[in-house]
Amino acid sequence: MSNETATSARHRVFSFARVCAITANTLTELTRLKVFYVLLLFALLLIGSSIFMAQFTFQQEFQILKDVSLGAMSIFTSLLAIVATAQLIPRDIEDRTVYTILAKPVPRLEYLLGKIAGVLLLLAISTLVMSAVFLAVLYMREQSVLHMTLRQMSAAPREQIDDALRAIRSSALNIDIFPGIIIIYLKACLLATLTLFVSTFATTNIFTVVVMVFIYFIGHLQATAREYWLHEHGSGWVTRVFLAIVALLFPDLQAFNLVDDIVAGAAISLGLFLKTALLGIFYTTIYTLLAAFVFYAKEL
């Protein structure tokens, strides 16, 4: 067998092992950047707020605790997604590590997938840790309120006690929290891949972060602006195309905000959850493909 044939026999167009190697390395890189301090901040915020909220009624306390926790999780994961992703590729180019990696038989798509998978893994770990802290604090507060109620109602009839305990349990942990957390994670994934896309043509990290901050705010206002536009200009095909482009450039981030409903105690329907989740996966895929397209043609 000639050398050339041997070489071509060994090479794989796509190798999961290569992507995993880059993912693991990216996760190590991000961990060493001490991004997990954000999680410490989150834990302190929750513990601090739960002490402060001891003066409210249990319904108010649980509502505020969920509101603060899920809101903080959404902001922290979004912030982490943007900051962690913005410097990944520019730093590799600046330090020339990208040369040594791409001079190996590594396709650019695999490099990019490995990098973004590292960020998504970091976001998953962060979301899991924040959820665990949140649920632990919520559980401890629930137990504390249950014990206190039992003590206070020790002389009350059994049915009355059971009703009171049921009311406490239903206003503390409910199943709708979990789809809410998944949507928060998907929103962070969307922001990470959009940041990756911007960073493939941006010249500096600052530019990427500033652009993403703009997109973040516009994305939250986009739905309102779209409704106003449709109201004013009708819904002709020109308007629809224009709005589709705007929606691609500035994703409707408000659509990922299910926290208000969860905090208000409203049930999230399976349809709404699946629709939002698919929207998140769609955006994440599109931005990754766009990033790969730009990076493929990039002169290094």
Binding site: A21, R96, L102, L300
Partner: protein, 284 residues
């Protein structure tokens, strides 16, 4: 006819300047061939197009015109890089990884694993003299050590062609000597080396053939001894010659049609003096 390790035909690279009408021609109609097993030096001043040429060979930059091949394969194809190891100029690797972790990372990119990767890592750390520093993070490595770990990562998948961009830039004479010795050793093992440098004395020591680039144009190319030989001059280096003997040789030359151009005492090089003075010093 065997495939050239590197074949470049009619290569031109033009970089457009944003917001300007003109553009920069980094490489102009370059034709070059590196044969398997040789050490080829691409020489030239800064900005002459050496690094751009190497990047095109490695698929990091796309050519405006022309074609480059590695062992007969279009160098834009990812699989052509199975046969190549690359050490960029002044490489910065991930500082948080140790020397050993760095080699394992690059090995995994080449789909090495298990005992094979472990053995290869040990072998290369030994080869570049970094076995003792294998657990240290690269952030604590000296410039010369970084260059040597860079050379090791370039060799991890046993490539047939090694591309080195300014391999001894910024390295002290002892480190520089180690890298040159390694290159000579690799050549002995049949590995083709294509290196770019503007340090001419070093290139002269190790290169079989050189090409000189100026403003993106290949202005000279050939076997080193042919390029630097002065056609009508001969050097005699004599040891233990008495002054009488030297005078006699000189008068013999004067009696003929030949002309004595210079008579001087042989000297060592400053580099050799430096290396002798700084290595193997007895402990005081």
């Amino acid at each position: 006819m065997t495939d050239a390790a590197v074949a470049i035909r009619g290569l031109t690279k033009i970089f457009p300047v944003p917001l300007h009408r003109h553009s920069i021609v980094a490489v102009r109609d370059l034709n070059l061939r590196v044969e398997p097993g040789e050490v080829y030096g691409l020489l030239g001043p800064n900005g002459s197009g050496k690094s751009t040429t190497l990047k095109i060979i490695l698929g990091l930059v796309s050519p405006s015109r022309g074609r480059t091949e590695i062992f007969g394969r279009d160098s834009r194809l990812v699989e052509s890089r199975e046969a190549v190891g690359f050490l960029p100029e002044n490489p910065y690797f991930y500082k948080y990884l140790s020397g050993e972790e760095t080699l394992r990372f690059f090995g995994r990119l080449c789909r090495l694993g298990g005992a094979r990767l472990k053995n290869r890592t040990d072998e290369l750390l030994e080869l570049v003299g970094l076995t003792k520093a294998r657990k240290r993070r690269l952030g604590t490595y000296s410039k010369g050590m970084l260059q040597r770990i860079g050379l090791a990562q370039a060799l991890i998948h046993e490539p047939k062609l090694l591309v080195l961009d300014e391999p001894t830039a910024g390295v002290d004479p002892a480190g520089s000597r180690q890298i040159r010795d390694l290159i000579v050793d690799l050549k002995r093992h049949g590995i083709t080396v294509l290196l770019s440098s503007h340090l001419l004395a070093q290139a002269q020591e190790i290169c079989d053939r050189v090409g000189i680039l100026a403003d993106g144009v290949l202005v000279r190319e050939g076997r080193l001894e042919e390029l630097i030989a002065i056609e009508n001059q001969t050097e005699l280096v004599v040891a233990n010659a008495s002054s009488g003997l030297v005078d006699e040789i000189e008068s013999l030359i004067n009696r003929s049609n030949a002309k004595l151009i210079e008579r001087r005492r042989s000297t060592t090089t400053l580099e050799k003096l430096f290396l002798d003075a700084t290595t193997e010093r007895p402990e005081s």
